[in-house]
């Protein structure tokens, strides 16, 4: 599996890191018990407590704008120095017309920037992050903005409707010496696996039932995590925090145990019980929650998973600057604490599940 430079690790030429981060989670919450009340009547097997639901006037563009404003408030960087705005999502508001130009315009990053939307199911956001690390790491740019954000849809009554949620985070990548978390290494691991998909004109996604667990989520997440640890020489004890993609509460808990991590290592970034699966936002908003509480010196492992399928694994080390920037924008927990519970009927209206004509 060796690559040209003798390693499977991805490492840039120039040292880089996260210079600003920002979360966004919308205000509304749909309890899983509400979905069960309408569809199954079974309250004993709920995959989470509740999920975050976007309001009628929110979409991936508006949510990305707010997360990015938080990231820039922390980074205190002139927006005109940002050379890329990359938004990863599976719920871009347009099929053709980038979300990223709307975000770049709202943040006054235009016009001298690259802008593009990324697509890879739930790991579109970390693909954008890999690319941002590369752009800054190559010296082509000093700053690049990567975002993972979704307003995920589940077919009414489907298992995914309990968890498909809205939220995400923005990470501004820049020089290591300005960073709140220095990048150490990353790795990407993909195969062609048909676990979950949505055809071009379909409103709701489909999934290949038995494919979603072992051959998809667990295989890719644990392979990526094991390989990055092997190649860097780190063991589970070297990480203070671990964030794994979170389709439900059990999967990341089980994957963490398989990898030798203790429950307290995944605790700070495990948001799925209270916000649901935010798809392309999931591992990044978990990372933002970790940065909200991490201490200088803490090493963090972030591993995404996207159906289709693959995982991106990243290792960061938190720096002293975290204390300076943390309270320049709302914390992830501020958004989680802001909650208004809605019933299934309101949810159906918010998510356009009612046929109007």
């Amino acid at each position: 599996m060796a690559k040209q430079n003798g390693s499977v690790l991805l490492r840039p030429q120039r040292a880089v890191g996260i210079v600003g981060y920002g979360a966004y989670v919308p205000r509304y919450r749909l309890p899983a018990s509400e979905v069960a009340r309408v569809w199954s009547g079974r309250m004993d097997t709920l995959p989470i407590k509740e999920k975050a639901v976007a309001g009628l006037d929110e979409d991936t563009a508006t949510m990305s704008i707010e997360a990015a404003r938080n990231a820039l408030a922390r980074a205190r960087v002139d927006p005109h120095r940002i050379r890329a705005v990359w938004v990863g999502s599976e719920s871009h508001p347009y099929a053709v017309k980038p979300t990223s130009t709307i975000v770049a315009e709202a943040l006054d990053i235009v016009p001298l920037t690259s802008a593009a939307d990324w697509e890879f199911a739930c790991k579109a956001g970390t693909e954008a992050l890999q690319a941002a690390i590369a752009l800054v790491g190559s010296g082509m740019a000093d700053y690049a903005l990567s975002i993972g954000m979704d307003t995920a849809q589940g077919r009414p009554g489907d298992a995914l409707e309990y968890t498909a949620a809205a939220g995400g985070a923005a990470l501004l990548v820049g020089p290591a010496e300005e960073s709140v978390a220095r990048f150490e290494a990353s790795l990407s691991y993909v195969t062609d696996t048909p676990d979950f998909w949505r055809r071009a004109h379909a409103h709701y996604p489909s999934h290949g039932q038995r494919f979603t667990g072992e051959p998809a989520y667990f295989h890719h997440i644990t392979s990526a995590a094991r390989l990055i640890m092997e190649e860097t020489g780190y063991g589970p004890a070297d990480f203070r925090h671990v964030v794994l993609h979170q389709p439900n509460t059990k999967f990341p808990q089980r994957a963490a145990t398989m990898l030798g991590f203790k429950p307290e290592q995944i605790q700070a970034g495990l948001l799925v019980p209270v916000i649901g699966n935010t798809y392309a936002g999931s591992s990044l908003v978990g990372f933002s929650a970790v940065l909200d509480v991490a201490e200088p010196g803490d090493r963090v492992l972030v591993v995404s998973f996207g159906s289709g399928a693959g995982s991106d694994a990243f290792i960061f080390q938190v720096t002293e600057r975290i204390h300076e920037v943390r309270d320049l924008a709302p914390r992830t927990s501020d958004y989680i604490a802001r909650r208004t519970v809605i019933d299934y009927a309101t949810y159906a209206r918010f998510r356009g599940k009612m046929l109007m004509k």
Binding site: R27, G55, D59, A106, L107, D108, D334
Partner: protein
């Protein structure tokens, strides 16, 4: 709103970019050719903070064409920190929760969708200021 007009005004609509008068130094929103305070022409572009308070409000139940899908929604006169008064929709708040003097902050949201196949129009709205959780020392 036509596509051309929304495109021309996107900066003020997405991020509340106004002006400061070069003569009397008042903040101006929306941007215009002549200062409404001293009638001099020269102004400098300035991003407003987006923070303000509700000066007055009402609730729109019977929305104009193109806004129906968001009704009912509160509309307020928001007195910005820098001085200007802005008419805007309030969001992330139900009409009965709105009060005069309520601190609000600007967010960028969808304001209109021109049908299933048309463009989506984004605009500033205001929401109750996000509460920060108490921090452990």
């Amino acid at each position: 709103m036509t596509v051309a007009r929304t495109w021309r005004t996107r900066r003020q609509r997405y991020s509340l970019v106004g002006e400061r008068c070069d003569h009397c130094h008042n903040a101006i929103f929306p941007p215009r050719d002549v200062c409404p305070y001293c009638a001099e022409p020269a102004q400098t572009q300035m991003a407003l903070s987006g923070r303000g308070t509700v000066y007055s409000y009402t609730t729109v139940y019977d929305a104009p064409a193109g806004f129906g899908e968001f009704a009912p929604y509160p509309v307020a006169l928001v007195k910005l920190e820098e001085g200007p008064m802005v008419t805007a929709q309030l969001t992330d708040v139900s009409p009965e929760e709105v009060t005069i003097g309520m601190p609000v902050e600007m967010v960028t949201r969808k304001i209109q969708e021109q049908g299933e196949e048309g463009v989506i129009i984004y605009n500033y709205k205001f929401r109750p200021q996000l509460q920060r959780q108490a921090r452990a020392a």
